[in-house]
């Protein structure tokens, strides 16, 4: 029996909800933000005040609040708000594609490895282990070097980099679940292995994988924006948040921060929203992999 004060203290501590971002309000705010951003991306042509490529030569690098340009203009005279709205399209679509493919692939590989165990598991795990030695950004850079700039190569590279993380998580979960009594009882009833894995196991591990995917979206967004910033991903003059920050570097030297700040804020708020969502899902089910 552990001493009463410690047990009490634990209970007392648990009663305190962690305030702020982790509270209910944080989740609602995050979901709201993501909905807004997604809608903005989809409805860009309708709601954008200007054409994102239209250069207003009379007001280069004008500050936020200039009439007609709520968030100001960049060094080429383009409206920042419009570019952010249009930029949401590629800036959100690319990570989405990345996460959907890498999560699906990773889950498939991980479930196979975890379910089959033995040699297959060993081999697959070893292969995944090697990929861990390469930072995602590096693989993406190599992909760009081989296949050229644009959005495809980085996505392919990052898929290769992200899949092992999901695979490792899925494998661990399946290996654990496999030993639980309900799986054994299904087996005895005559259900085939793959059937059990797909219809019974998957739904049980799906929430954890979902939480991980939410976090991965954030990482993916950052990595892809980084590549665009470096000039390896989305190319200017396409509106993309990473490209916008890169373009802003000129303006920085003239002392104007907002050109970089607004797209940067868009990135950060999106990533934070996904992190909050991911954490909320993880807390719900009580376990996640420390990314």
């Amino acid at each position: 029996m552990s001493a009463a004060p410690i047990a009490l203290e634990r209970r007392w501590m648990r009663a305190r909800r962690l305030p702020g971002l982790r509270g209910q309000g944080g989740v609602i705010a995050s979901v709201a933000f993501l909905v807004v951003v997604t809608l903005a991306a989809i409805l860009a042509p309708e709601i954008s005040p200007h054409n994102p490529s239209a250069a207003d030569l009379s007001s280069l690098l004008s500050p936020p609040g200039t009439p007609g340009h709520l968030l100001g203009t960049d060094t080429a005279g383009r409206d920042i708000l419009s570019r952010i709205i249009y930029g949401a399209r590629i800036s959100l679509l690319a990570p989405l594609v990345l996460v959907v493919i890498s999560s699906t692939l990773g889950t498939a590989i991980g479930v196979c490895a975890g379910w089959m165990g033995g040699i297959a598991d060993e081999v697959i795990s070893r292969v995944m282990d090697f990929l861990f030695a390469f930072p995602g950004l590096l693989i993406a850079i190599i992909a760009v070097a081989l296949f050229g700039t644009g959005v495809t190569a980085p996505i392919v590279g990052l898929i290769i980099a992200y899949t092992p993380y999901t695979a490792r998580l899925a494998r661990g979960l399946v290996a654990q679940e496999r030993n639980l009594p309900y799986v054994e009882s299904y087996r005895q009833q005559g259900f085939s292995g793959p059937r059990i894995a797909l219809t019974m196991l998957l739904p049980n591990i799906a929430p954890t994988l979902l939480a991980q995917s939410a976090l991965s979206f954030g990482y993916g967004l950052i990595d892809l924006a980084t590549l665009s910033f470096l000039g390896f991903g989305v190319q200017p003059p396409t509106a993309d948040w990473g490209v916008m920050v890169s373009d802003a570097q000129q303006g920085i030297l003239q002392g104007d921060i907002w050109v970089a700040l607004f797209p940067g804020l868009a990135i950060m708020l999106t990533v934070i929203s996904f992190n909050v969502l991911g954490d909320a899902i993880a807390e719900r089910i009580g376990r996640t992999e420390a990314a």
């Binding site: 390469f134 950004l137 700040l261």
Partner: protein, 316 residues
């Protein structure tokens, strides 16, 4: 103990070998003729043939690989297509600067992460803790390139506290020049380590041996130092080890923004000029850094937590 070292080393070498195979083979994933790729198309037929001979592209794959490996062991990391210099020399000359930058960032990450994590844990639930968590969320969500651009704008261009360009000469000057880049490089990881260490500290604070120490009349400061911090170092060490290799790649962003002539900017220019041999060499370097860091953490771990028997490897 010795057997453990040998096993770890052996494992690392295998990983290195296979990684090198992947790096070597990646060239052949190029759509089209690797020779044309390496030559960037601006050559004549005889030059192409010469290139093919030089890279042994006529030989069977495995032979090429072994040949390349052989060269590696002798310090030949290939020749830069851009500079026409050995890649090893290019990297070597830049190692000091980037090394200092990464080390600087690592120190900031460890110290900053531990300090903030401890602050949050000791003041759990208060406004200070909320601030710490908010900071760590924002920091992990801030891409390095954004941090760097904003730091430049505020502290360099605006306030003139730090220089905007270059890596400086001499120890003190170099540190001054590398401060903003190091912060830019480190910020995201500081957020991560803050979170990890805070969790570890909270866990340690709940342990009974902390209560026992207090009951024996030790000052709160002693208790925290000897029984809380000391017990929480494990997860922090592991995380930091994993993060360092990523730092090296992130220098690509930081160095180009600050005009530092290091390995990161070399990688950047190599991609732009499609200088593949250099890209391969740097990739190898990154893998080596990753393996060295993780092996170091594994070897140090029994000192951090004696319960981990030194002849058993930690679960990955």
């Amino acid at each position: 103990m010795l057997r453990f070292c040998a096993r770890r080393l052996g494992g690392s070498l295998v990983t290195l070998l296979i990684s090198s195979f992947l790096i070597f083979g990646s060239l052949y994933l190029v759509p089209g003729d690797p020779a044309v790729y390496l030559a960037h198309g601006r050559v004549t037929a005889p030059q192409l043939a010469a290139l093919r001979r030089e890279y042994g592209l006529g030989q069977p794959f495995f032979e090429r690989y072994v040949h390349w490996l052989f060269g590696l062991v002798h310090g030949n990391l290939g020749e830069s297509l851009q500079y026409h210099e050995p890649a090893a020399r290019l990297i070597g000359s830049r190692l000091a600067v980037t090394g200092t930058l990464v080390a600087y960032a690592a120190v900031l990450i460890i110290l900053g992460g531990l300090a903030l994590g401890l602050l949050g844990a000791l003041r759990r639930g208060t406004l200070v803790d909320r601030g710490v968590l908010l900071f760590s969320s924002a920091a992990t969500a801030a891409p390095a390139f954004l941090t760097v651009v904003l730091l430049l704008a505020i502290f360099s261009v605006d306030l003139h506290w730090f220089p905007a360009l270059g890596a400086g000469q001499g120890f003190g000057d170099r540190l001054w020049h590398l401060t903003l880049p190091a912060v830019g490089l480190a910020l995201s990881a500081v957020g991560l380590i803050t979170r990890v260490s805070r969790t570890a500290f909270l866990d340690s604070l709940r342990r009974e041996h902390v209560e026992v120490a207090r009951s024996r009349g030790l000052s709160e400061r002693s208790v925290i130092r000897r029984h809380v911090v000391r017990n929480s170092l494990g997860p922090v060490a592991t995380m930091t080890g994993l993060v360092v290799a990523t730092l090296v790649v992130s220098t690509t962003v930081v160095e180009s923004a600050f005009g530092i002539n290091g390995i990161g900017s070399l990688l950047d220019s190599s991609v732009q000029t499609l200088d593949y041999p250099v890209i391969q060499a740097i990739s190898l370097l990154v893998v080596v850094v990753f393996l060295v860091c993780n092996t170091a953490v594994d070897l140090l771990y029994p000192f951090i937590d004696p319960r981990v028997a030194s002849w058993r490897s930690r679960a990955a």
